[in-house]
Symmetry: D3
């Protein structure tokens, strides 16, 4: 069941570098969820056209995931955050790299690992003071 997949997940969104002051890991998360669901639908189908579309659409939503992650990493987080959360650079590398892995694989587990990384990032995001002013979908 997909609903279970993000049942306990921290909500997550992301944004641009005007900077406009709106950031939320949700943007990365929605695209990554789309990739996971697409991988699952691919496995359940034997329609050549549908499967080909799954591969290219998954590619595209994961590229968007990478973009949204880059925005959060380079534009929202600042040196004091990297001091406070010393694992943050590596966590972003893992998430961005994992999005590339998820392009290569139709195994939903690869995308679910990506979601797990995004949730870790979201958890840190919502611990910052900056997120209180700039985030949109705080965890309930």
């Amino acid at each position: 069941m997909f609903a279970k997949l993000f049942a306990n997940a921290t909500v997550a969104h992301a944004h641009c570098d005007l900077y406009c002051g709106v950031y939320d890991p949700a943007q990365a998360k929605i695209e990554a969820l789309s990739a996971v669901k697409t991988a699952k639908k691919y496995a359940e189908s034997d329609d050549e056209v549908f499967r080909a579309r799954c591969i290219s659409i998954k590619e595209e939503v994961l590229e968007k995931t990478k973009h949204h992650l880059m925005v959060l990493w380079a534009d929202f987080f600042a040196p004091p955050h990297f001091e406070e959360f010393p694992q943050l650079h590596e966590l972003f590398w893992k998430a961005t790299h994992q999005a590339g892995e998820a392009k290569k694989s139709m195994d939903p587990a690869v995308g679910e690992q990506l979601l797990a990384y995004i949730d870790e990032i979201a958890e840190i995001f919502w611990k910052t003071e900056k997120a209180q002013a700039m985030g949109v979908y705080p965890p309930a």
Copy 2:
């Protein structure tokens, strides 16, 4: 205060037509919020470069808003929804058209009206059964 702007707002997200089965008015909403904040920052600045960037970045986030609205309208909602919510076509037209108006204006009120339309759409979205399975950020 920006926080006040969406204090009582229904959460809102949106997505693609594989269809992957992930939809959420949040995507439209985040971009529209970015447009509103950008309009406000424009008004507070007298830096020529910053103001020029505000105009073009607002253009871009509103184009994304329009795209996310189109996806919700054409891919998520189906004939039975339009019967149940007879104002839905017109509401989507108003929202999409308003995004165009918000490109033309630096008055934050124009973007706030867009947000109001997106919130109306989100409210309807979350009333549907389909949204329970496919939405990501249900209202708290």
Copy 3:
């Protein structure tokens, strides 16, 4: 025969929201025609690479079709038009939704139905006074 396909078709073009004042259903129509021809070529080929390219190129031209339709709907047509042509909202929904259906199917008939909707839109377009000033390819 493809020539027959649009023999009696109303010409059709589409455009952006500056607004610059140039609109024509032709833009939507050319992309939709490309989708139909691509579906036909797909059926006639057994080259794996060609067929894969057909699927993704059709996807892309139909996304452009959707975009051009959205521009016509939200930027060219205005409330008085929706009063005069009460079926217009639904017609645009059907056309935009059908473009999504045409992404999913390699059956040229699905794209031909899309063309039929675009032709209906074009017919209404050319009945408006606004189109006289802003259209580019009026029906012969």
Copy 4:
């Protein structure tokens, strides 16, 4: 008067390299017309925001014009055409280069010269046998 601008103009359209078999100089022409109208509206306005949008939207429609020209040149026209119409390479260079010039200038005359080049291309396009099968909007 804009209507006068293309009163005697040969119709003109353009397309992709599957190849799908749909080509028409109309695509290049519609974007170029949009650039000309935008330049004219720029001259008539003293609204800072509107003028800034004119500059960037004109940039974008001219980039699309260049793209559509490249498709016609590299994908539709073939060596026998270049033998039959020896000026064709240079004509395409002039048109594509002129689109760049039209980005740099707000003088509508620069865009009108671009339209004139596109019309020359369209005239040659419609003289070819290939255009009978692949064109969409033949001159009336």
Copy 5:
């Protein structure tokens, strides 16, 4: 061996029409090299997903190749260059058209011919005085 492929190749780069004054055939060349390597990897794989991705990624890098070629042709080179190098228009047509051919084929030789054309263009590029001021990666 891929290394051999460009062992004696003239370096090659490309750019935009502000104009900013930075041009280099390297941009076209890197994308074209990516297409060749992708075609080779396609031949060596029997993974359905990998092969589908090869087809669409090759498509994309070749589209970028075409774009970079168009920029060099229309923005960098000027009438005096076309007089001095009378084959230049045809050479650009061949290169741009060959990029289209390379989209259609998984035979690396098709992409290698594209590289050969780009190298010819690069050789002429670096013979111009303009390239001394605007090029970035002159041949060693």
Copy 6:
């Protein structure tokens, strides 16, 4: 003098995640050079249109710079590299963040600092064994 700007610079290029096996910091570098030159031309001009175009074109080339940096960071470099070059994560953050700063500023020095970071990345890139097989423009 611009020529001086990159006189002793390490060459630098970048690429996609098929992965096709072509990577080079040159791609990031060419876009960043374009941003620096654009900032200089902006300072020398008092043409309103030219200056507006400088702002938006610089925005675009810097967005491409960020993209190329992300590809190098997430797709080319791997955990062993981050162990060998412990400053690499932070260096990439600084470069990507600096590209955002260079969007905000018309001071060429901001872009020159970006170039300095890209050169540091390129120097590390060319020290890796992987670059010998996958790089295109090694330092002379």
